[in-house]
Symmetry: C2
Subunit: 482 residues, 2 copies
């Protein structure tokens, strides 16, 4: 038995851990946004596979001292580093409850299955998808995008592709996406055996949206060369700057060209929750599939994403399989088809739905939408403040919630500016004041501040700006620059 020998001692230790967790989140603002895990903590983790048991409370002490302080920063109000959700205190309780039930949600007839179905129903409602559309929770948008690509593959080649595999000499399928598309779409083409060369990368306009004319030309050229265009991947919030492709126009092109339209809305798609932002996503309701994350702008703890597929039959035909151990019965625990394993690569699946259900029930769509709207407004204001500061240069228009800029001391060429700004990003992180990240915009190294954080206040933006100015000045002084 791996249960506690003394339940009451375990209960006390668990309550202690819970108190620490609540304190840790309540006081998050008082700690640095990030601090490096010291060598002493790393050393404390290093050991051979433990053979003997330890008391839970001893293991917990090691956790509290050597692991807990060293978060990735994203729970902090001044984390702007990457597009990462903040999480919530009640999300952590939901995870404990899910692990208490320890459900395997691959299928069968139990409560967790009905919770996931409800979350999928809400998702369909949000995106205006019909009742026949299917959906399933995933680890995140990477897996959701892979599912979208595989379903599109099925629709183009028939489910026989599962047996026969790909054969470009028979049918050479080609997909289309902009240069601003997340690398996981490329990786999905690689995994699916289609090959990334068959994913045509189109240029973007000045606001990082796909170049429609180039897309149409490329589809025509591929068709003329004997290929079969099968998939257009549209972005609802690009990873680097938060750009939204013209979804409605892409839906029309996809329909005309007989292509599947998949929308990667990893973080941006949840702007649908907001009545003021929703119009920017016009056309998303016409997509053939949508991938998005609940662990980003809905702040469910990591990890949980979702994919919706309009053609539920194609979705099922892409994954459904049989096995004697998967026998469906008409009653009992092995009933209640359809099973989620028929819509996703996994069989064993955790009860991801519970944290989403708790989040949407407790906060409601309107409060989550208000947090999203606040982030968009914060990004706009930071962009304006940067524009007004001669030392700082905005490198891309603020489209949604991402601000890309650089510090610009006098007398540096482009290469030196790149190195200067990379060092500045590291110093901001090391200072613990805030976390920003680096990216490339039009060949220039940029500081990137992403607003996907429900804890950020106006004051945090001021602290961020002051910190960047101060650290930038001091770095410039160090290098004897103006």
């Amino acid at each position: 038995m791996l249960d506690p020998r003394d339940w009451e001692a375990f209960r006390a230790a668990a309550h202690h851990a819970l108190d620490d967790a609540v304190d840790f989140l309540r006081d998050v603002r008082e700690r640095p946004a990030w601090r490096e895990m010291p060598e002493s903590a790393k050393e404390r983790l290093r050991e051979a596979l433990p053979r003997e048991p330890s008391e839970f409370s001893d293991v917990y002490r090691t956790f509290v001292e050597a692991i807990l302080p060293y978060t990735g920063g994203n729970i902090h109000p001044r984390f702007f580093g990457w597009v990462q959700g903040t999480g919530t205190p009640s999300g952590a309780i939901a995870e404990m409850l899910a692990a208490t039930m320890n459900a395997n949600v691959g299928g069968r007839n139990h409560g967790a299955v009905y919770v996931e179905r409800q979350v999928i129903d809400w998702s369909r409602e949000l995106f205006g998808f019909p009742g026949e559309a299917t959906g399933v929770l995933t680890t995140g948008a990477s897996e959701a995008n892979l599912v979208g690509v595989l379903v599109a593959r099925t629709r183009a080649l028939g489910s026989e592709v599962r047996e026969r595999g790909l054969d470009p000499q028979r049918t050479h399928i080609t997909g289309y996406a902009s240069a601003a598309t997340h690398g996981c779409v490329r990786r999905a083409f690689e995994i699916a055996g289609i090959g990334s060369e068959a994913l045509r990368i189109l240029p973007t306009d000045g606001r990082q949206r796909i170049d429609i004319a180039a897309l149409q030309e490329r589809i025509a050229a591929d068709r003329a060369a004997g290929a079969r265009p099968f998939l257009i991947v549209a972005n609802a919030g690009t990873v680097d700057v938060g750009a939204i492709d013209p979804l409605d126009e892409l839906a029309s092109i996809a329909r005309r060209e007989g292509c599947h339209l998949h929308v990667d809305g990893a973080f941006g798609a949840l702007a649908m929750l907001s009545s003021t932002l929703r119009e920017r996503l016009k056309g998303i309701e016409r997509a053939d599939s949508i991938a998005f994350d609940f662990h980003k702008w809905a702040h469910a703890p990591y990890d949980v994403g979702c994919v919706l597929v309009r053609d539920g039959e194609a979705h099922r035909a892409t994954f459904a399989s049989e096995g004697p151990y998967l026998t469906r019965m008409t009653r009992g625990l092995a009933s209640a088809t359809p099973w989620f394993t028929d819509y996703v690569p996994e069989l064993s699946r955790s009860f991801r739905a519970l944290k989403v259900w708790f989040t949407l029930k407790e906060h409601g769509a309107d409060r989550i939408a208000a947090a999203i709207e606040r982030n968009v407004e914060q990004a706009r204001r930071l962009g304006a403040a940067i524009d007004a500061d001669a030392r700082l240069e905005l490198l891309a228009p603020v489209g949604l919630n991402v601000v890309c800029f650089r510090y610009r001391p006098q007398g540096l060429d482009e290469a030196a500016l790149d190195a200067f700004n990379d060092e500045l990003v590291i110093r901001v992180q090391e200072s613990g004041i805030a976390v920003v990240s680096s990216t490339n915009i039009g060949g220039k190294r940029a500081l990137r501040a992403c607003f996907v954080n429900h804890r950020t206040t106006e004051d945090d933006i001021r602290v961020l700006l002051d910190g960047i100015r101060e650290l930038g000045e001091s770095l410039a002084r160090e290098r004897a620059l103006g």
Copy 2:
């Protein structure tokens, strides 16, 4: 802000939830092994997407009343249905703590990364893999097997396959596995675009182990026909009966044939923890990759599996990608390469490692091994008891921890016996006494009892047997059989 407005009220509600969770697990034995979720509970979940917020305690009440009672049964001591782990109370606390930190373990420099590295180190140690071998936690063995197949694909075709895609006219790669192999291996071939026809399914011997002669013949025939044999998938514990393929022999064949040897050890591989069972897995240390689950025989809560890859460079070459938002720095939060996202399909990844780390530290390998050994012994005893009962028929020798059998009233032909035993499985589940499942063994419908449960005692086996006899007799009476 999605934080509590009143932290102390939230704290009290969270402590209340924790007490309920501890009670729920402590008293699990007093409840039925499974009960169907009633229509009233399902009805309570159905609602439109909530727009308004609710109190956490109100949401929690709905959870406790309408969801919590309806588990999939696997936490119960008399769950023998499928190969599912039991979970542990401390595993649930570890999940709460992981969600408190809310780490995204795709990469970068923070505590969660070092915990996952430690868990991978322990896994390498367990399987005798060298330090250059790489590993990564996955959602489970399905994903781990997919990674194994993709790495083997890279080793056979070079990493150019990522760009070019599959082209069977250039190189027709073929893989090999027994008929007892889990369907996720077939699904991996489908996803990877190789196609399941290229996975040659070999017959098994009387103990459900791969037929070695048939394997060698098929490899030779494929080679003669111009194919390139690239992968042998061996089982360490088949899903239906727990059979272990001759791993050492398969390792020699794989080496001779230039094939990658991937071991699907979803549950069986962790028998390596046991000094008495380890020898049955001889040869596993020679595998090129191993997939296994921590959520099965190590009882970490769902979901968490692992894949180890001997050729770390091929592993990296299969997944690693670049992106401006993935820029690696020499210091700060964007340092500490290698990053896990370079070894797995996902970028965003939850802190699965923490529950494994807690489990291995608290219980130690020896206590987990003792639970595994007890399960193997329990299966052996159940098999012997079935053998000694004229009403019951053992349908496969008990190789490890799975017992396949049927109830055999007089005067039924095979078709009627199948229907009788399917109904019996359902009645056992509906009675709440225990959960067993159905499978096919040599064309006969079987009751299947899997022992992957640290809560099961000798007494539970007696209750299971008595229940089956009683329900079997009553069903036979109903149908006026002997």
